[in-house]
């Protein structure tokens, strides 16, 4: 194994399960255990468990922590009472996305930020370069093992694994008696929670969730599950050259809360309407699975963009993808074509999400 890859604290558990490990965001991570399709369906119908130890955890503290985070992030952190979390974005001066993350308020002056693995160093450097006195920023990413337990049966799995403990409300965060952190969040669209324990206890916790009814699921299923929900993946669907308004994430941008980095361009785009929009596209006929970078064409054959993400949807058994397209081509039902190795498959603009979990 190349030595420059980081190992998850759960790696030995993956190896003993026969997982296929691949490099992802600098980590050696399980892409699948037996079958991406089976793991995908297990999460939609029952309960799956993902290793998310590669994700980063930052602790922000201080009397001015909320004020500072509000100047760094798009959502309004003042809306959070202790034990509550929110999806939010960190932007550059041009309004482009550096990272998307979840910010939790763990106390009046204490916050936990969960960030993308690939962006830990860049996020830290950016935040440190803007850090005022009176606020501390601590990177705890190596201290934690992380797991996402997702699917309709995940509350039952939690109850079995941690009898006597209570899951927080949607988007909430709680600390358990043993010091573990549980967040009612996820990246699949299903009910579920994300669980952080000390790196040393990670394997034991992982095995406890397996024994309580969760089945292991890899990054392959994680990607198809999130794409069915039209959740963006940073690096594919989000980039330093695209704003959250263009990405269709205006719901997570608060222009009224006061100034934050990137605000001016977002306000302009919101007022005038963005020139490009991250658009959900679904095949209308059978075709080879769409993938990132495949050209998107008008019905007449003019190339108007490329897929940022694409996959065969295991739930819908058809091709789905997202692309930044000129706003003029983003009306629901607009016919499009996807070019796969020189052959085109008919598709159309659809509403997000592609798939609605049944509950």
């Amino acid at each position: 194994m190349p030595s420059d890859l980081k190992s998850s604290p759960l790696e030995s558990a993956h190896v003993s399960l026969g997982a296929r490990l691949v490099p992802f965001a600098g980590w050696n991570m399980p892409v699948q255990y037996t079958s991406i399709l089976d793991e995908h369906h297990a999460v939609r119908k029952h309960c799956g468990i993902f290793d998310i130890s590669h994700m980063g955890q930052f602790i922000v503290r201080g009397p001015d922590a909320a004020k500072w985070l509000n100047s760094m992030l798009t959502n309004n952190i003042d809306a959070l009472a202790p034990t509550q979390g929110q999806y939010t974005l960190m932007l550059n001066e041009r309004g482009g996305v550096i990272d998307d993350l979840i910010a939790y308020r763990t106390g009046p002056e204490d916050f936990l930020l969960v960030v993308n693995a690939s962006m830990i160093d860049e996020d830290l450097a950016w935040m440190q370069s803007h850090l005022p006195s009176g606020v501390t920023l601590e990177n705890q990413s190596d201290a934690w093992a992380g797991m996402a337990i997702q699917g309709p049966e995940s509350p039952a799995v939690f109850a079995k694994a941690y009898p006597g403990e209570t899951l927080p409300q949607r988007n909430g965060i709680a600390t358990l008696a043993d010091g573990s952190i549980v967040c009612r969040t996820g990246y699949t669209g299903e009910d579920g929670f994300e669980f952080f324990s000390t790196a040393a206890t990670g394997v034991a916790v992982w095995e406890k969730f397996l024994a309580s009814g969760a089945s292991p699921a890899g990054l392959g299923a994680r990607d198809t599950l999130r794409l069915e929900m039209a959740y963006p993946l940073n690096g594919n669907d989000l980039s330093p050259d695209r704003t959250p308004i263009e990405a269709g994430l205006g719901f997570f941008v608060n222009l009224e809360k006061g100034d934050f980095i990137g605000r001016e361009i977002l306000a302009q785009q919101k007022e005038q309407g963005p020139a490009l929009k991250l658009t959900a596209i679904q095949y209308t006929e059978k075709g080879a699975p769409p993938r990132a970078h495949y050209p998107v064409l008008t019905e007449g054959g003019t190339v108007i963009g490329e897929l940022a993400s694409g996959a065969l949807s295991p739930s819908l058994m058809t091709g789905i993808g997202m692309a930044y397209l000129p706003a003029s081509h983003t009306k629901l039902g607009t016919p499009l074509k996807i070019d796969v190795r020189g052959r085109t498959t008919p598709a159309k603009v659809v509403k997000k999400p592609f798939y609605k979990p049944t509950k």
Binding site: V31, Q32, S35, I36, L37, G220, T224, G287, A288, P289, R291, A311, L312, P314, R341, R343
Partner: protein, 125 residues
Amino acid sequence: MNIPSELRYNPSHEWVRIDGDTATVGITHHAQEELTDVVFVELPSVGRAVDAGDPTAVVESVKAASDIYAPVGGEIIEVNPDVEADPSLVNTDPYGNGWIFKLRVKNTDDVLKMMDAAAYGAHIS
């Protein structure tokens, strides 16, 4: 490991069953296991002439598209519509109903130059 002795093999994991000058081509048990869930097969056009090593079909899993190469030169005379309709046949029956295309072989000696089961077994071990 499932490597039928009556077939010939390519290092890129195609198998060939020769019958007169007709070669049936598919991918090996090992290859389908590596690819995992096959969700799409792109078949070549019947009548197309191919040389050994030409990318001729495409087999796609959820994560990746993989070229299938013509193991020997010849002309495509038949393709398997069943794998187009049900790509998982490539996983469940790689040497049988999961075949991909048939070639009229230009030179049948080329098939005999391919690896036998023992050599392929050594190649993937």
